[in-house]
Symmetry: C2
Subunit: 542 residues, 2 copies
Amino acid sequence: MRRFAADRARRAVVASLRGAASSRSAAPSPLAPAPRHPAPPVGAAAMAAALARTMSTAAAGTPPVSLNTINPKVLKCEYAVRGEIVTHAQNLQQELQKNPDSLPFDEILYCNIGNPQSLGQQPVTYFREVLSLCDHPGLLDKSETHALYSSDAIERAWQILEKIPGRATGAYSHSQGIKGLRDEIAAGIAARDGFHASGDNIFLTDGASPAVHMMMQLLIGSEKDGILCPIPQYPLYSASIALHGGSLVPYFLDEETGWGLEIDELKKQLEEARSKGITVRALVVINPGNPTGQVLAEENQNKIVEFCKNEGLVLLADEVYQENIYVEDKQFHSFKKIARSLGYTDDDLPLVSFQSVSKGYYGECGKRGGYMEITGFSPEVREQIYKLASVNLCSNVSGQILASLVMNPPKAGDESFESFMVERDGILSSLARRAKALEEAFNSLEGITCNKAEGAMYLFPRLHLSQKAIGAAQAAGTAPDAYYAKRLLEATGIVIVPGSGFGQVPGTWHFRCTILPQEDKIPAIISRFKEFHEKFMDEFRD
Amino acid sequence: MRRFAADRARRAVVASLRGAASSRSAAPSPLAPAPRHPAPPVGAAAMAAALARTMSTAAAGTPPVSLNTINPKVLKCEYAVRGEIVTHAQNLQQELQKNPDSLPFDEILYCNIGNPQSLGQQPVTYFREVLSLCDHPGLLDKSETHALYSSDAIERAWQILEKIPGRATGAYSHSQGIKGLRDEIAAGIAARDGFHASGDNIFLTDGASPAVHMMMQLLIGSEKDGILCPIPQYPLYSASIALHGGSLVPYFLDEETGWGLEIDELKKQLEEARSKGITVRALVVINPGNPTGQVLAEENQNKIVEFCKNEGLVLLADEVYQENIYVEDKQFHSFKKIARSLGYTDDDLPLVSFQSVSKGYYGECGKRGGYMEITGFSPEVREQIYKLASVNLCSNVSGQILASLVMNPPKAGDESFESFMVERDGILSSLARRAKALEEAFNSLEGITCNKAEGAMYLFPRLHLSQKAIGAAQAAGTAPDAYYAKRLLEATGIVIVPGSGFGQVPGTWHFRCTILPQEDKIPAIISRFKEFHEKFMDEFRD
């Protein structure tokens, strides 16, 4: 019955619309007024209206949305970490599910993205206990709960609920995040840095990515606004700058010195951008580096802070890998600590530090928690940042809770402390071993050189390809490193991201490979990789 | 020691930078080449460079970021739901905490925002049980778990984990969301509408807001791109259009006919926009209405679909209040169901439906779950939408799980079904009673008229203000409805949002008030409101 009534309604409406359409199409010229409009516009406006009508009605046969009509900034934006090679891998995975014997490997190994739990890393028990209790606070009153949860997790869940107005974990929070959780994060930052931090400066976000977008949205008004970004860089930055219509001002990290960040290079690129009429607004520094894995030396960081101070730049510090340090001679120092150690206060330097629950030893990517700490902005500008945050209401509360937990994990004496430390250190020391094993494997191969991963979750080896291989890539209409990555995927199931997705010195070729496959799989990965690589080198020997 | 070393480093760096700065400031004119640059640029580029240098260095005394240098689109954007009046309320709340007797009320009642759990609504038990289990999957293997969780929640958590690759709730998911959960949502949509739905068309998002932003980002390339929006509207739309630099093309809902959406008005505004050279890309329809609470009749929806089809517009259907219907003579029909009932397929009409876990009877705002279902876009354009989603990696997995739960709640026969229905119906029937009580109270007052809330979570009463009141507002430098809202807040602690934040016919004044305070508080709210309003009317009688 409904269907019949609907059909009838449709016929009636279609008939009435047909009348309108035919009267329109019968119009002798696009300039004639359309008869169905009671008060047709006149003059130039009428011409424009009639033309627009003709051009944009469905009757003209053009679809309402096409690549020609969408925002060109969206077209321009690229994000290789989930780009073509990953789509290809997903297709192969479906192929494998249908015909397990159809490919020369039995699983796809996603080394394209820093997503530890997708490769088998287990979540930290204490964090999950607290989240589980906060999701179902009714449990906290029940005695049976003690059989399933550690007592300090129960205690922590109580403390967190007390910080949430009305204990309402299902309510929108303050747009910066729950004040009590921000204060806890600030306390964690202060303990880390030895300098004061304030919950008022924390903006909790759904991972670090929305925070980066928010700052780009604030700072970029047109293509005349430039952002200094490392090359190679994590493509979130290039994508966000493209989406907001700004200019990426590249500075090259020096592969020869372990991906060193040279102040002279920053200065050179800044001057060059300025000579083109670009106002450089900010400097992005990723430390520990992504995709490059280097950890900045304190002295180097001092110079970077002075550079920003002197040149009037906002320092956007991507510090999401702050827990991921694998070498004994390096330590993480936040840029805020560096700035405060140099004696600079809130009045001297606008500084944003991004942190995420997706990285570290916790690797809770799916929870989408994170924050930015902003200092050195005027109250009026902060108000604008708050407004941007408020348009999206707030970040997810579980992510907020988790961010407060990772910045204040269990302490000595807590029931969970020992087991927590075993889990934490187990993950971090295993990551260090994996980084070393993969780096050594890459360096043992002909035509690959690879800097050490001092931190983060990646290696970024350089491919020294033959002219013949480069020619084969050109013939296939693709960049040489993309060609290599595709061949590797098809031969082994290993997914890496071509260096071209991150940027690199022109004429050099790289790839990013995470160090995240579980340790027991590393030997097999290395041998599969080695076998492929040797064949590839033989195939394309000049 | 560290501090000492840092100070020393600072002095050294500052000295070296001072040299550079003084050589720069000593330059006789901004056009002279800066001596410290090894290869000074020449000609016009050099002039531009030198000028830029002078203008943007910190030495010039201007802060790196100010309201003059940030993105003007950010300045332009407004979001009244968390705007000035709410900031004022937060300040009063702090005041109350410090001095409980300092104000003529003892609590702030936030009726500004659809945030049910912040006002005491309890979460639906079954949903929280499942979330709690998915957060800590280790519980699923333990027999003690059965003492704390219902057996169907345990079963559902198992099913959900099976849908997540590697059971990894802590991993980034597919950028559209976990495929198995999208399929489940599609099944829920199909059951709701009686028409096929596909998980491939679902994009899970952190609430509906990021989905709206994504579509605006896609559709708006410049101020020549227009979006037809209802007035009054939910200010997310005006904010998002402003942030993306497009033109809001208003169409007015007709207050006289219960906030009716008239096709003639759509046509008139479309033509007018086109006559100004604006290409209208999409039509936003909010059904049930926010802030207006009307529920569209099926016949009206048919005409809206035909209008979009005929005019080549994307239909952006905000359907987040689909569960919130409070009158017996109205039903929710999704626009996709309407389009399919009219016989239109994917080829005929690009259509986006937004849904959120924040609304309905569940009201899980803090979880930031939601999705958009997109149909009728070409594969190339879909690829661009996917790319936008991928830049943010994925939405939070708990929100994804919850979105799949609200679209597939417990069914008859499930252990939790009866208690679930009691909770659900209790919330919905109470909301209906609250809507009616508040509407009747408003309509009983001199100088207020108020349409029925057929759905959603708001009333949008009209204030018929005296010239004297309007004069007082002008003298205070504010809009009359904002003046009223401020006075109400200061007298009663009740927070409402002035109609000017949503848009209204010029010369009319309204406010939005949620129906969300708990039912036992409604009588007191009404009497506080009434007392204030009567005094206000007396004070400003012409």
